[in-house]
């Protein structure tokens, strides 16, 4: 025991490095996400309450005024949007939990253990995405009420899109959470990230299309004929909408728009964007986001 340790003892090198991909580690962190989800009934309740509010209340409420969008009722039109909203909430909530986990939770255990952080990140992202799929399935349970016919194929394809969306958004959340020093409420996440992504995705209004008439423009046939006597011809009860250019730019810049467009194509057979762009975003972006998220988690502590 000496105050000035000057000697440079030969440094041991050993402990065979573990591969960054450890399936057992990834699987146990995936399972952990599911256990946490299952034990937190408030999250499941949130999924149902959001669905009722957006799909049933808003869907039928606004649907009473806005008759149809390209032949779909308003409730039908926003069904894929409500699925997306649930995926957004579940993914971000799962991702943000790492702020807590890192400071005073299980993630600190990981840092002092020989386990590879890459596998932990992979388990985390896949777990978050799986929870998002479960939450995104809740609105599909309401499909019969709003008159959308589901088939096994449709649900399987929808799950594929939800998985892609969940991986993308959980990774995105992890990248943000890795930079957050502290966390004192989900409100800022909801207002600052979830809602902008949701509103700017074409979830609740179409990018362009023929919109069925608002109540007062639905002119009774008698009045229509009477107006024709005076030489006034109504053009049916519809008109073509086109978003203002600035709004269109924001919607096109939002990756969620493409995922959602794909989901709407799967569930309703209605698409507004180019299929190649949709598929490109849905297949490519989640992979890139996962890689960035894993890197962010590895560097989180070494600030």
């Amino acid at each position: 025991m000496s105050a000035q340790a000057s000697a440079s003892a030969p440094t041991r090198v050993g402990a065979a490095p573990r591969s960054p991909l450890d399936p057992r580690v990834a699987a146990s962190f995936w399972r952990r996400e599911l256990l946490r989800y299952w034990r937190d009934r408030s999250q499941i309740f949130g999924g149902f309450s959001r669905t009722v509010l957006w799909l049933i209340i808003l869907g039928f409420g606004l649907g009473a005024a806005l008759r149809e969008i390209e032949g779909y009722s308003y409730a039908q039109y926003i069904l894929p949007g409500v699925v997306t909203l649930n995926v957004l909430f579940a993914s971000l909530q799962s991702a943000i939990a790492i702020v807590w986990d890192r400071e005073v939770g299980l993630l600190r255990e990981v840092v002092v253990s020989p386990a590879p952080m890459f596998s932990v990140a992979l388990g985390k992202v896949l777990g978050g995405a799986t929870v998002a799929m479960a939450q995104g399935t809740i609105p599909l349970l309401f499909a019969p009420i709003i008159g959308v016919q589901l088939s096994v194929t449709k649900v399987l394809l929808a799950w594929c899109v939800m998985l892609s969306m969940g991986v993308l958004l959980t990774s995105f959340g992890v990248i943000i959470a890795a930079r957050m020093r502290t966390f004192e409420g989900f409100g800022s996440i909801s207002n600052g990230i979830i809602q902008p992504l949701y509103f700017l995705s074409g979830a609740i209004f179409p990018i362009r299309g023929i919109i069925g008439g608002v109540g007062f423009l639905a002119i009774p046939d008698a009045l229509r004929l009477q107006l024709q006597k005076y030489g006034i011809y109504s053009i049916g009860s519809g008109w073509v909408v086109q978003l203002p250019i600035w709004l269109r730019v924001l919607v096109y810049a939002n990756p969620v728009s493409y995922e959602l467009d794909l989901l709407r194509d799967v569930l309703l057979g209605f698409r507004q964007l180019i299929m190649a762009a949709d598929l490109g975003v849905a297949l490519g972006l989640p992979l890139i986001a996962t890689a960035v998220a894993a890197r962010a988690m590895r560097r989180m502590y070494k600030r």
């Binding site: 003892a9 090198v13 807590w100 939770g105 299980l106 002092v112 386990a115 966390f183």
Partner: protein
């Protein structure tokens, strides 16, 4: 046999602030070593550098001969760590938390069941194994964490303020456990600001303002200050570090904990 812990000129800066400056000491194998100091002295930062949580800005450190910078994986494979605040998943049961640990340390599947059972009985938590950790008291969590840190049979155990927040019974139990472990040849490195606990250590280092200001056995330190014969380590400590109160701004972690205690949403 390499030293259990050795650091030489260890320094860590955060921006402009030098949290730890030129810290050097050695801990022999099988020792109980105490790192003492008031709040904000740099104890935890030093501990984090030794346990590869933080990278040193300069200087070197090694644990059982594994360099913390070049061979972090080696360090992590021979050490166990108990953090100041519980590093458990509150929503998982005691059993599930231990099972996660077994996976992290690549304990073979066939050995896992037996190791978990042993850890639970060591912590006297056999009957609470299937309860979520959020229903546990502070003492139960600490016992679980200590049992977990020993599951992979580490050679060096790091404890950060292990007795903070424990009642006298839990504290006594913890000390008895630590003594028993030392009997088995484990090196224990702990930080504390309870001076009476440091009396038990083989060697202590007193830190203040990021530097080691005294180093030696408790008896040596007590003898170093002239004057009255019977001095407690606490008097020595106050003599060395001064008597002014140490106020610290709340760290992000402290704020997060306070938020959690208020019942913070979507956190745990």
């Amino acid at each position: 046999m390499p030293d259990a812990v050795r650091c030489d000129g260890l320094t860590r800066t955060f921006g402009e602030v030098e949290a730890v400056r030129d810290v050097s000491f050695t801990v022999g194998t099988g020792e109980l070593f105490g790192l003492l100091g008031p709040n904000g002295a740099g104890k935890t930062t030093t501990l984090h550098m030794l346990t590869t949580v933080l990278e040193p800005s300069s200087g070197t450190a090694s644990v059982l001969g594994f360099d913390v910078k070049r061979d972090g994986a080696g360090v992590r494979s021979v050490m166990g760590m108990v953090f100041q605040e519980p590093a458990l998943d509150d929503r998982l049961t005691a059993h599930e938390n231990l099972a996660m640990h077994a996976v992290l340390y690549a304990i073979p599947r066939h050995a896992t069941r037996e190791r978990i059972a042993r850890a639970l009985s060591w912590a006297s938590l056999e009957n609470e194994a299937r309860r979520p950790v959020r229903t546990f008291s502070g003492g139960m969590k600490r016992r679980l964490e200590l049992a977990r840190a020993l599951m992979h049979e580490p050679k060096v155990l790091f404890l950060d303020e292990p007795t903070v927040g424990l009642d006298p019974q839990a504290r006594r139990h913890l000390w008895e456990s630590i003594r028993a472990l030392r009997g088995e040849g484990l090196t224990v490195f702990m930080t504390t600001h309870y001076l009476e606990e440091a009396e038990d250590c083989d060697h202590v280092a007193i830190m203040d303002h990021g530097q080691v200001i005294a180093l030696g056995s408790p008896t040596e330190l007590k003898g170093r200050l002239e004057g009255e014969t019977e001095r407690s380590l606490e008097e020595v400590f106050l003599e060395l570090t001064g008597r002014e109160l140490r106020d610290e701004a709340a760290t992000p972690r402290a704020r997060l904990l306070a938020f959690g205690r208020r019942g913070g949403e979507h956190t745990r």
